[in-house]
Symmetry: C2
Subunit: 363 residues, 2 copies
Amino acid sequence: MSLDAIVREGAADSSVIMLGGGMPATELFPRGSLTRAFRAAMDDPTAAALQYDWPEGRIGLRKWVAARLRRRGADVDHNAVILTAGAQQGITLACQFLVRPGARVRVSVESYPAALELFRQREAVLALGKEPADCAYVMDGIDNPHGSAPDPDARASLIREGLPLIVDEAYAELDFESRIRRPLLADARDRVWHVGSVSKTLSPGLRTGWLVPPPDLVERVRRAKFTSDLQSSTMSQLLVERFLTTEDYDAHLVRARDLYARRAGVLSTAVRRHLPEWRFSEPAGGFAIFLKTDHVAEHPTADEEWLRTATGHGVAFDPGALFQARPGSGTLAMRLCFSAADDEHLIAGVKRLRTAWRAHLEA
Amino acid sequence: MSLDAIVREGAADSSVIMLGGGMPATELFPRGSLTRAFRAAMDDPTAAALQYDWPEGRIGLRKWVAARLRRRGADVDHNAVILTAGAQQGITLACQFLVRPGARVRVSVESYPAALELFRQREAVLALGKEPADCAYVMDGIDNPHGSAPDPDARASLIREGLPLIVDEAYAELDFESRIRRPLLADARDRVWHVGSVSKTLSPGLRTGWLVPPPDLVERVRRAKFTSDLQSSTMSQLLVERFLTTEDYDAHLVRARDLYARRAGVLSTAVRRHLPEWRFSEPAGGFAIFLKTDHVAEHPTADEEWLRTATGHGVAFDPGALFQARPGSGTLAMRLCFSAADDEHLIAGVKRLRTAWRAHLEA
């Protein structure tokens, strides 16, 4: 059975506690506001939400994105913003310009799986550390899977170095201490491909994100967006635009950070108590922690076997190999998400992992 | 000023009658049904519409697509269906497997602009007629921009020939005589990339379409969809799925075909009366007619000048060059859409075109 099949089997079984997936908390979805926005959209005689729009998307939402970046110190006009189907499409569009077969893309040792898979599909070489690179993929603000904040020295060196950068801020608004950073865009406007999204903060199902490419490439990126899917969902853009321009998004973010920070604490405490062999860094934000053991994985399917054992004990996680630029490094790892489970399930899930881990070691 | 700039200027000016754009009629959008679907989605305690889903999309909608294709004679299981952001993303995904730089893609002399632009971006060679080709792009059912039905001999020869085919059925449900054809998929399952959409029949703003790739490539296409944008909007999928599975879609299609057929008649009659120099084929379905003159376009910007003249006289259209596989063929052409204008605007628009055309000839 493939990894994907095991993941799906676990997800389909409601008795399995799901600590993988990286999903936002259902209770944070602003259903009331979105319902008001939907009604307003249906009352509009032109029904713009259901009709075609321009490839770059609605001007109101692009203005919101540009203004928010300007407040953080970046020189961005709304004409430079292209709305995308989530952060992932922003990364994909950037790759169409930066990543040809054989290109060396610098990534972190552990990073966002769908970006790694994309680079591999495009036949890129994944570069680590000081290895030569043609461009770099950076999760700024808060990274996935560690939930860690960026190291200021590493950021300064990124700016000095002069590489084209794909800067993914998908989790940046979920810094538990509400730190607002100067975006890398502000210091390297002509070679940063800035990627943002409301998938983690409002709703992933609406698939609404944005890309700010280098200024001289905006028109070509707009054409690439057009041939990708003509435009992103007008309905989604309109719902998100109305929320961001009529509701208090920052107050919403405070509620989200509070909930996630509390859950992060519950999960961390449970792991320290019940899974002392698994090391992790205390998260500074985001949805998850990334755990490693010293336990040597003896063969390439070690991740699969550990996940299968865990699922058999009623708990699932995201296998570490998905996040590894060079999987099969020799020790087992996993991502546990605190975002979408309540305290009771977090604690029960970790206890099941303890039992599963003992069984796995004895097997 | 670029063509794009002239088009946008015309679209922004409410005094300009827009006969371009290829937009569905606003009055056909099923707002009541979609509102009921939205309410049901918000009442769902898991709020699935706002959450992540699998890359291939909701099973209910995929089952609907597969069942509809099976009724037309194709052997398609829902596991072979991948939901996409409209037909365009289906074509793009197919290109990732079929169209490498230098590939020869056979197209019609006039075809769908966003597909032509995509092939050019991918550095393909556009092949016409009997020229050698590696694959073919075919608008089956009803084509764009002519609104014509397929020639049975051409279809038979396509099946015999054995090329990989990207088959775009975006307009197929809008055949004015409600003809239901055996899909090309049914006769060449292993080399047809079948593309469908509800953009023309329900709503383009929801960006919901599908791709049925050759069976042995489904898993790889699913991974390509994942790295493109993770998945299409869950919200859109859910609204469309609920409409298609709980409302009478075929009755909706009858209303749509009736409206468009009537408008096609109004536009055709007006063109024959007021623009006798412009030739076109009577449409068999779809949104538009494609008109040609014998008037020689003396330089490459002739299309732009004619559109600018028309916009100056209060009417806009889609310039012919957008649809031409080999633009600059020497004579002026244009697409006029009857889909989104009422009778009065269709007639007034054609009268303005007459005045504009006289002014253009005298200039």
